[in-house]
């Protein structure tokens, strides 16, 4: 059994995030930080969409590989892609962006990572898809697509720049 979300659904999700961020960031200077990989692509789309509407935002990408809590269970350490944060993090108003929010562990790692660049004034979280089943007390501030799933379902996101097409597959565990 599997369900899919189409490119149109994804586009709608990005649009919802853009609307919400546009409204809440009125009068604030905000930086988008995308979590690699795919969170950075969602963040890029948000930035482009907000720029079309006249809102220019600072931008960065974060690789959280060195901040994971599961090295013990990995056969091989994850391949590093590097982070790119060029704006001043001290005091910054940051919105972390990721493709899927699940256990919350990636976001925990991202918070640790960003704080090694400086002390942000505020950090919020925007996710394209919230599929639930948190293992840590982390909640998003902006959600593009809320998705009901079982704990063991596999949610596989493909995005055009990273994977060649826009698509989300939700596979039931057999």
């Amino acid at each position: 059994m599997s369900r899919t979300l189409t490119a149109e659904d994804i586009d709608g999700g990005v649009e919802r995030l853009a609307d919400a961020i546009l409204e809440s960031s009125e009068g604030r200077s905000v930086a988008l930080v995308g979590i690699r990989s795919r969170g950075d692509e969602v963040a890029e789309r948000l930035r482009a969409r907000l720029a079309e509407r006249g809102r220019e935002l600072d931008f960065g990408t974060l690789d959280i590989s060195l901040y994971r809590d599961d090295y013990e269970h990995l056969h091989e350490n994850p391949k590093l892609q590097g982070s790119d944060i060029t704006f001043e993090v001290d005091g910054a108003d940051i919105i972390l962006v990721d493709d899927v929010l699940f256990t919350g562990r990636t976001i925990r790692a991202a918070l640790d990572s960003i704080s090694d660049y400086g002390r942000p004034g505020r950090v919020q979280l925007a996710v394209l898809i919230d599929r639930g089943h948190r293992e840590l007390p982390i909640q998003p501030d902006y959600v593009g697509i809320p998705l009901e799933t079982e704990r063991h379902d596999h949610v596989h996101v493909s995005l055009a720049k990273t994977d060649g097409e826009d698509k989300v597959e939700i596979r039931k565990k057999e």
Binding site: Y67, E76, N77, K79, L80, Q81, G82, S83, D116, Y117
Partner: protein, 320 residues
């Protein structure tokens, strides 16, 4: 497949070499952050087992391990029980009981790190064993050349000095050649092997070597504490014949040639004083890159993974 140990470069695949060099880039980028440390090896222990003195390699590994948040213990061998006659095997058993995750070893005997690697679950990194190998030096040199010449293929590196006794020459030239760099050796006839590895040019005359057209001149350190000194008449003579004198420095500058040296430099022997401020000197960059590359090496190893089979047959040392 994750690898447990790094004993010599020959056992690394091209893919593994590329990956270590690639991943050193994000590690180097960390050095400009306010917090230079990452938690990747938090709670892991790294033991520094140095049977030979080495300030630079030792501190480079130590900084690398600490920037990965590992705990570092120095097993200071010359002052410890080895002097009292404890064998290496006993030492390794002691270390095993300490449940250390990584062991960084330097020893005067070729093959000894491989022997230790087989005795322990810990990941073993060879930090120099006799005249055999110094893999992380080779990797950091390759990384440094790659920073200057991203397309390494066809570039020419001239290695100058005591090639015969140098594990730096061996490791650095082997990794450079695998990455497509052309390598030549220059040194006194008594210190350059008669049969160089295939494809490596051999020179004993400085001018002839320069006519070959190197992009990088890599000077090896004259090992005052080893036997090198008896292979040539005097240090002043060495400087005159093979060192970068003031005149030769001008020539390097005119031709835009880069300068490398594994450190520490013997001023007035391998290099004249003025060379220390040479615009195309990569010597300080080698030090910085050494930390990033060693972080990348430690990050790529997995304690407890299966051992390095290729090292099995070739170890010459005995643990007794």
């Amino acid at each position: 497949m994750a690898r447990k140990d790094l004993l010599e470069l020959a056992s690394l695949t091209r893919e593994e070499i590329d990956r270590i060099l690639e991943q050193a880039v994000p590690f180097k980028e960390l050095f400009t952050r306010s917090v230079k440390k990452v938690p990747a090896l938090k709670g892991k222990s790294v033991l520094m087992l140095f049977y030979e003195p080495s300030t630079r390699t030792h501190s480079s590994f130590e900084v690398a391990a600490k920037r990965l948040s590992a705990d570092v213990t120095n097993f200071d061998v010359p002052h410890s029980s080895v002097v009292k006659g404890e064998s290496v095997r006993e030492t390794v058993e002691t270390l095993q009981a300490m449940r250390t995750d990584y062991i960084v070893v330097r020893h005067g005997r070729s093959g000894l790190p491989g022997m230790i690697a087989r005795q322990t679950k810990a990941s073993v990194v060879n930090a120099g064993d006799g005249a055999h190998a110094h893999p992380t030096q080779g990797l950091l040199d390759a990384f440094t050349v790659k920073e200057v010449f991203p397309e390494m293929s066809g570039k020419r590196v001239l290695i100058v000095g005591d090639i015969l006794h140098s594990r730096v020459a061996r490791s650095t030239s082997s990794v450079l050649r695998r990455l497509g760099v052309e390598v030549a050796y220059l040194g006194p006839g008594s210190l350059v092997p008669k049969c160089c590895p295939e494809g490596v040019r051999r020179f004993t005359d400085y001018r002839e070597a320069m006519a070959w057209g190197p992009d990088v001149v890599y000077l090896l350190r004259v090992q005052m504490e080893r036997q090198d000194v008896q292979y040539f008449p005097s240090l002043r003579e060495y400087h005159r014949v093979y060192g970068v004198t003031r005149d030769r420095l001008d020539e390097l500058e005119d031709k835009g040639i880069w300068l490398m040296h594994p450190g520490p430099v013997n001023r007035g022997v391998e290099l004249c004083d003025e060379a220390m401020d040479y615009q195309r000197s990569l010597i300080n960059r080698q030090v910085e890159n050494g930390i990033a590359v060693r972080m990348s090496v430690l990050y790529s190893l997995k304690p407890g993974a299966s051992g390095d089979e290729e090292a099995e047959g070739e170890a010459e040392a005995s643990l007794e």
